[in-house]
Structures are given as structure tokens and as C-alpha cells.
């Protein structure tokens, strides 16, 4: 609570005590009670009255300060002293609570995003200087000790350590970095001491970009926000006009002026729009904060709103649903152990730069004694023949086996299959394929649980491989062997298949996806840490490579929208009910104050629930 709020709280407490005293002690002369009320009123409401007077000269009569002042002074005029003070008192309580809640949620979203480094240790003239990250130049060397945040993006030139990337990616497993590895600002250095050569200025570094993104998100307003501000624009004048009519017309036809003025003043109390309006942006702000906590950056309240009505999810395959790395997935050895088969195949392929050779070497993982490999012969489009440790080894596709008349067994696996023969005997197969991410299964399930009607995969990859992935993941549709322009036309086609309020989400790795990202309702770039182009083109950025994070964002979005709707319906209906009851003379000014302040407090408390979602996943 800051100084301003504390001062306001003290004023409220003093005024409240005065009201209690005046309520409990009945002076013989009522005048003393009333003087106490007036003093309480002045203490708690003088600033509102001053602002109201200032606004009259500007012709701003629908301003809430003005409305509250008229309502309370009116109440004094018809000798409703306690009501007059109570309205002002509760109004101020509401205002105080509102600024407290907004301040608190700003702080908690800021702490969710607690990645801004306070300083950098930079080497200058052989000494370490502690400076603002803003003052460090590209090319300078910085030192990051255990427990410190990495202040700027750079490359490790000395040391190794485990990095905690949780604040950036929501990923709890630490990442190992060593010499020549790229490191991103915002990560926390867990154990080792790192010397880092700075590659980006602070303003361009990952931390600044992320903070900027989240901050700018609130500038793109959602439909709900626009609705409520439009509503407020009409609501207040209408209620005020009715209030004036209530005070004038019935007395003309002979009803009690005081009675109807009282009803009219209740109207003025309920006419203030702010209580109604505050909870909506607060909810979206909280939702965006909750999403960034799990490593998802939503670039606007409008996108967060739209995610809730996701009907069709379109995914890229390679790198999105699959890992995008070709690895040895399966070895079937005949007459040898798997390890020996892999060894012979890797040795035979060792002189090749083919991706298959790289995958084999990576899996084999041991030093290769090149002296053992002789007479290597590449047979274009078929494979390799080599003499390894005195044995003739053939490594290649089916054509190679046929060419050498090897009796082989055809593999039923999907992917790139490598047939191996040793000394003209078939020795087995090695399957090299891209692997479906474990997380993809979870993601698809979560999408389906969240009312996504259709999940489609679009890929440039071969038909049989794509079918295998689509079947394993139980996707609704897949389209393979597509060129980039085909992807665009498929997304165009799919856009017509959703219902009028439904949304299409496209998830890709952000590379070469720009047209599709722009075309879909919500474009999601995955694993986009460090890729500026992807961050620029997408509406939502997932910092890790887990597609399930998008499903989680849909959940956050749905929860946010539920709360937004609850608040809109609750606030508007309570206000209308109280208006009707006051017009009929049933509701007192007390209930009018509840309709204004009480509703606002409840709506704010409801909105703050969104921040609690942070540990749900």
C-alpha cells in the first residue's frame, strides 16, 4: 500500500468512527449529530467534491465525482444525513479497494514475469564493474555468478553451468550450458560461474522483448472490454436522465417531492460506471499474466479472448508435433547384437556427409577408428559398400540389397529404413525417423477435452510418414506433401468450415509460416525463444516446444472468459434490479451503495481468481 492509499485509509477510518459515534450517541439537540456527520463527510469526501466543482466548469456532468457529489449533497438537503455520509464513505472504500487490487495484480503479474535483471557485472579495464544492464555494449564481457540472472543475451566464453529457464519458458528442468553456447537473458545461473560475451544490447535482448510484449498486450483490447466501455458510455447518461425525470415529474403530478428526490438520488449513486468497468481489463490482465507464467506470451487481450472459442487447430508437423530431429528409433539385428550392427553401419557410413550418416554417428556416440574402414564405395541413390575390420559391409536401401542379391526381409516400419548386410548376409535394419513428441499426445487429448472440434495437420512431408503420425496421434485430418502455398489454401478452406464465432488456431515453428500465421485467427509460433521473426509474425508465442501449452492457454482463456461473463452479468443485473427497486421506492440508498461499491469489490475479487491459476499445470 503506498502513501496515497494509506492517507485515504486513515481518512476513511476517522470518518467511520465519527459516523459510529454519531450513530450511537443521540445528542439532545439533533444538530450536534448532524454536525458530526458533516465533519465526517468533509474528511472523507472533500477531494471528490473539489474535483466535482472543477468538472462542472468543464461541462463534464457524467463524471463520477460529480454524480457522487450531487447524490450526497442532495441527501443532505432532504435531511438524510447518515445516508449522505455512508454513500461517500463506501464510495471511497470502493475506490481504495479498487486501487489496492489493481496495484496488487500489477505487482503479482510483474512478479510472475520476474525476469528483469537489476545489474550486470562487466569487465572494464581488468576490473569488474557493477552497472545497469542498459549501459553494457555489444562485445563486452560480463560475469554471471551462481544465483544471478543473466542480464544480457550472449555467448559463453568461459565456464559451464546449469541454467534455470523457468521464468522464460515455464520449463522446470535446468538447461546445461558450456563453452560457445548461446545464453538468453532472464535465465538464472544455478551453480557455475560464467563469463559471457554480450551479443545484444539490453533493449534488444530477450528479456526486454518479452517484457515489452506482455506490456503491449493490454493495448490490444478485447471485444468484452470494448463492449463494457461502450455500455458505460450510454448507461450513465440514461440513468442520470431517468434520475432527473424521477425528481421532476411525479412531484408535478402531486407526489411527495422529498420521497421522489430520494429515489432519484439513489439512481445517481448507481449510475457510476467505474465499478462495472474495472473488473474486465483486470481479468484480461490477469489472464495474460497467468499465461506468461507457463511460458506462453499472448500478444493481446483480443487473442486471449479468441482462444476460448477455438474450434479448429491446425498444426505443422515437423518441429511442432514431432521433434524435428532424425534419430535412430529402432534397430533390428539378425545374427548380431544391436550394438554391433549399429557399429558396422556407422563405420561404413563414416566418410559420408549424408544426414543418415550424421544420425548414425550421433546414436553410436563413440569415437570412430577410421583406420578400420577401407575401400569405401558410394553407390549413388542406393547406399555404401565398405570394408570394415575385414568384413564387407553394405549399408543402404532395398535397391542396394537387390543389386547385391542379398536375401533381406522387408521392414514394415515407417520412416527411413536402412538395410545392412555383413559379408553378403542380411544382418538387419535400422530405422531412422523423426519422433512424435511425447507432449503431442497430451496436447491432442487436451485440445479434444477443451471442445476443439477438429485437429488438422498440414505438412510437406511424405504421405506414408504423415499418415503414421496422424494415426498415432488420432488427428481428425492430415494433408501431406504440401508446398507452402498449398498450406495457405488449406487454411483458407478450413477457415470456412468453422462456425461464425469459432476460431482457427495455427501452430507452427514460425519458420516460413508467416502467410499462414497471418491468415489464421490466432497464429502461434512455437519454441520461438530467440527467433525474432517468429515473435514478430505470431499472435501467441510459446517459449518451449510443447504444443500442450496452447491447450493450457485455451484453458486459461476459458477461465478468463467465464469470469469476465460472470462479472458483466452480475454487475449489470444487480445494478438494474437496484434501479428498478429504487424507482419503486423499495430499495434504500444503502442498497444503491451496495450496487455500486459492493458489486465492484466482488467483481474485482472474482477477477483476481485468474492469477491463482498459475500452479494449475
Amino acid at each position: 500500500m503506498d502513501q496515497k492509499m494509506k492517507k485515504q485509509l486513515i481518512r476513511i477510518i476517522i470518518a467511520f468512527l465519527l459516523v459510529i459515534v454519531s450513530f450511537l450517541i443521540k445528542f439532545e439537540n439533533e444538530l450536534y449529530n448532524n454536525i458530526l456527520y458533516i465533519i465526517a463527510y468533509i474528511i472523507v469526501g472533500y477531494d471528490i467534491v473539489l474535483k466535482a466543482i472543477r468538472n462542472i466548469f468543464k461541462g463534464k456532468v457524467f463524471d463520477e465525482n460529480f454524480l457522487m457529489t450531487v447524490a450526497t449533497i442532495g441527501a443532505f438537503c432532504i435531511k438524510e444525513f447518515p445516508e449522505a455520509v455512508a454513500v461517500m464513505l463506501f464510495y471511497q472504500v470502493g475506490e481504495l479497494f479498487q486501487s489496492y487490487a489493481v496495484d496488487k495484480s500489477r505487482k503479482s503479474v510483474a512478479s510472475l514475469m520476474d525476469i528483469r535483471p537489476d545489474y550486470a557485472n562487466v569487465y572494464r579495464d581488468d576490473e569488474i564493474e557493477k552497472v545497469d544492464p542498459d549501459e553494457v555494449n555489444i562485445g563486452e564481457i560480463i560475469l554471471v555468478k551462481p544465483g544471478e540472472k543473466i542480464p544480457l543475451d550472449g555467448i559463453v566464453i568461459e565456464g559451464e553451468s546449469m541454467l534455470n529457464t523457468q521464468a522464460l519458458t515455464g520449463e522446470s528442468v535446468p538447461r546445461k550450458v558450456t563453452l560457445n553456447d548461446e545464453v538468453l537473458s532472464g535465465c538464472i545461473n544455478n551453480d557455475g560461474i560464467l563469463k559471457i560475451k554480450v551479443t545484444k544490447e539490453f533493449g534488444e535482448s530477450t528479456v526486454s522483448k518479452i517484457l515489452d510484449l506482455v506490456e503491449n498486450a493490454s493495448s490490444r483490447k478485447s471485444k468484452s472490454e470494448n463492449f463494457i466501455s461502450k455500455f458505460a458510455k450510454y448507461y450513465t447518461p440514461i440513468v442520470v436522465i431517468i434520475a432527473i425525470l424521477l425528481a421532476i415529474i411525479p412531484p408535478i403530478i402531486g407526489a411527495s417531492f422529498n420521497d421522489w428526490l430520494y429515489r432519484s438520488l439513489s439512481f445517481l449513486v448507481v449510475s457510476c460506471p467505474c465499478a462495472l468497468v474495472i473488473s474486465i481489463p483486470l481479468s484480461f490482465f490477469g489472464g495474460i499474466g497467468a499465461a506468461s507464467k507457463i511460458g506462453v506470451l499472448v500478444k493481446g487481450s483480443n487473442y486471449l479472448e479468441a482462444l476460448a472459442s477455438t474450434e479448429i487447430v491446425v498444426c505443422d508437423k515437423t518441429g511442432t508435433l514431432t521433434e524435428g530431429v532424425f534419430k535412430v528409433q529402432k534397430i533390428e539385428a539378425i545374427g548380431f547384437s544391436e550394438e554391433v550392427l549399429l557399429k558396422y553401419a556407422t563405420y561404413a557410413e563414416s566418410f559420408s556427409n549424408h544426414p543418415i550418416s550424421l544420425s548414425l554417428k550421433q546414436t553410436y556416440g563413440k569415437e570412430i577408428n577410421e583406420k578400420l574402414v577401407t575401400k569405401t564405395k558410394e553407390i549413388s541413390g542406393e547406399g555404401v559398400e565398405a570394408l570394415v575390420n575385414g568384413k564387407i559391409v553394405l549399408v543402404g536401401n532395398e535397391k542396394l540389397m537387390k543389386e547385391y542379391n542379398i536375401k533381406y526381409q522387408k521392414s514394415k516400419e515407417v520412416g527411413t529404413i536402412i538395410y545392412v548386410a555383413i559379408n553378403n548376409e542380411f544382418a538387419g535394419t535400422i530405422l531412422i525417423a523423426d519422433k512424435i513428441k511425447d507432449n503431442s499426445y497430451k496436447a491432442i487429448k487436451l485440445f479434444k477435452n477443451n471442445n476443439v472440434k477438429k485437429i488438422v495437420m498440414l505438412t510437406g512431408d511424405r504421405e506414408n510418414i504423415s499418415k503414421d503420425v496422424a494415426d498415432k496421434l488420432e488427428l481428425d485430418e492430415y494433408h501431406a506433401e504440401l508446398l507452402p502455398q498449398d498450406k495457405v489454401s488449406w487454411v483458407e478452406k478450413l477457415m470456412t468450415q468453422k462456425s461464425s464465432n469459432g476460431k482457427l488456431v495455427f501452430i507452427g515453428d514460425g519458420i516460413n509460416d508467416a502467410p499462414v500465421l497471418a491468415l489464421s485467427d490466432i497464429g502461434v509460433a512455437m519454441g520461438a525463444l530467440g527467433s525474432d521473426a517468429a515473435i514478430e509474425a505470431a499472435d501467441v508465442v510459446i517459449m518451449t516446444d510443447e504444443p500442450s501449452k496452447i491447450a493450457n492457454s485455451i484453458q486459461i482463456s476459458k477461465k478468463t472468459m467465464r469470469i469476465v461473463k460472470q462479472n458483466i452479468i452480475f454487475a449489470i443485473s444487480v445494478k438494474i434490479i437496484v434501479l428498478v427497486l429504487s424507482a419503486l421506492g423499495i430499495a434504500s440508498m444503502w442498497s444503491a451503495v451496495f450496487a455500486d461499491v459492493g458489486v465492484s469489490i466482488l467483481a474485482i475479487l472474482n477477477a483476481l481468481r485468474i492469477l491463482k491459476i498459475k500452479n494449475a499445470f
Binding site: 463520477e64 489493481v102 495484480s105 500489477r106 506490456e215 503491449n216 493495448s219 468497468v277 474495472i278 481489463p281
Partner: protein, 74 residues
Amino acid sequence: MKKYKFKIKNLDCVNCANELESALQKIDIIENVSISFMTQKLFFECAEEDKEQALEKIKKIIKKEEPDVVIEEV
């Protein structure tokens, strides 16, 4: 067109922010004006050479609508 971002201080309530936003939207040389009450930021776009003139117009409207409000470049 260049995007600008300013810190906007002493905004009392969301509705005041919304009203100020619609008043600022009437300035002809700036576009995509938006005020975020939650982050206390003013966003707008304008041609680089018009920036000073735009700021003058913005400040004039702020003075009329919400005299307590001040803006600062970030």
C-alpha cells in the same frame, strides 16, 4: 508510421482512461491510440516528423480532460 509508448500517470479509473482514449482518438495525425489502465501506458502511432506536434495535441487534450494526468516518455 512509428509506434510510440508513453508512461501515463495519475489516471484515476478505467472509465476515465477509456474516455481519454476516445478523446485522443480524434487527433488526426495519430493512429491506433490506446490507453492501458492496467499497465499505465499510452500507445500511439504517427509519422516520425509529426511526433512533437502530436505530443502537443495530446497534452492539450489531456489538460482539458484529465488535468492531473501527466505523460512521460519511456
